[in-house]
Symmetry: C2
Subunit: 238 residues, 2 copies
DNA sequence: TCAAAAGTGTTCGATATACACCCATGC
DNA sequence: GCATGGGTGTATATCGAACACTTTTGA
């Protein structure tokens, strides 16, 4: 039964969200130029190693970029179209970056969240890593634009199952207003601020602090923090 | 940058649900015995071909089993642990069924639904295909038991996004009672029958027929049908 | 007439939505 | 004192949960 079953290279690609107090951003890397090709931004990712699970590979990519060992991430889809790596520029880049004659490349897409003010590692293999606002996402190689679009749907599903993840996008101390803008950005629609306050009040794991904003030219907002312990107690009760 | 990136074989494995009016069943196939090994049941699946997307491979497996060309299916996770195919029996089987020296096998798991009274194709490569009730699932090779467990969580998520899928598990004409038992099986808990009638009444795409059961030794139940057109109109309104 | 399943309404609590004004602060 | 964003309450509609009896049919 020798048939044309195929061995493929397998990669992970990570859609890493950040929030800059106004909008969602995605962490993009520049891939090296090949020949006359322009440098181009793409999702960070990597081929998987010999003895590596895909989850581990995604963690490795995240660690290289952020220095965080145990980051929250979520696999959301495998992209395996035979012609997803058919663009000549993409083939050239694959040959240079990895090995020649990669005939096929299947990728497993991951979603992750990161505080945007976190200092990023400068990973030598990339020319630059930078946050790109969602509305300014460029054309990207392979099917990275499609991967990104699917990740936007996935992040909402993820929140429903684990509301705590949004706090990965905020500083440790945050105002209700920041949380409000974050929800509006994720759901891409305005949310009534009074109802939002009520909603937060029902989240006993969002705890008010005594501390308030300083130096703002308006009434100072109270800071809140996410209380992991209370949250985990709740979760086991569900 | 020649490193130990790996080429792997890639397979799809399908968790196909059926409903026998009392409980959920899974379609399992027997894989051929190798040497002294006993015949063993597993999820149907296949390696992917050279120019084949994973979705197409899953569709192919489904088509081979059921003869249905366009079946509803949902990718739900990629399983890629380096030691998922480390069991000696599994290695022997892989060598015989496919090619020798498959060093690594990554699988993409799919969920699908099928009317249980559908006549199944007898696919030559399997000794038998049969429905197995959920509570009688045997030990399966690879990580198929884990894949099955995750599919049970996934089917509920799927329903929330697309309530129509449950009708793939029922005959074209069905009673509220059948639908009720199906929901109870999927959520694995009793659902109040009066509330359930109300719930169904709000689904305008579940249409009552004039026809009723015959030959039953109790009050005959009305038949209902799923109206795809009405359902699709609703969906675009969301 | 009995057994077995079909079918039917009301109440209550929780949750989501809509909506407008005063407060604190820096300039 | 004014511009800016922070913070608050009420009324209504909707949804889910609890709960028991009558109807129809074949045996």
């Amino acid at each position: 039964m020798k048939t044309n079953f195929i061995q493929t290279y397998l990669s992970v690609d990570c859609v890493i969200f950040g929030f800059d107090d106004n909008q969602l951003n995605i962490l993009l890397v520049k891939r090296d130029a090949v020949d006359g090709e322009k440098k181009i931004q793409k999702l960070p990712g990597s081929l998987i190693y010999n003895e590596e699970d895909v989850d581990d590979a995604a963690n490795r990519v995240l660690f290289e970029l952020t220095g965080i060992k145990k980051v929250r991430l979520r696999q959301f889809r495998c992209f395996a179209s035979p012609d997803r790596a058919n663009n000549p520029d993409d083939i050239k880049w694959l040959n240079k970056e990895y090995e020649p004659n990669i005939n096929r490349l299947v990728t497993v897409a991951y979603l992750s969240l990161c505080k945007i003010d976190r200092k990023l590692n400068n990973v030598s293999k990339y020319r630059s890593t930078e946050w790109c606002p969602l509305n300014l996402i460029p054309e990207m190689p392979f099917d990275h634009n499609q991967i990104l679009n699917e990740s936007l749907l996935e992040i909402r599903r993820w929140i429903e199952h684990d509301p705590a993840i949004v706090f990965d996008l905020l500083p440790n101390k945050f105002t209700i207003s920041q949380l409000h803008r974050l929800y509006e950005a994720i759901y891409n629609k305005p949310l009534d601020i009074r109802n939002f306050h009520k909603k937060v009040a029902t989240m006993d794991y969002v705890q008010p602090l005594e501390e308030r904003q300083t130096g703002v030219s308006h009434r100072a907002a109270r800071y809140y923090k996410f209380d992991k312990i209370i949250y985990n107690k709740r979760k086991t009760n569900i």
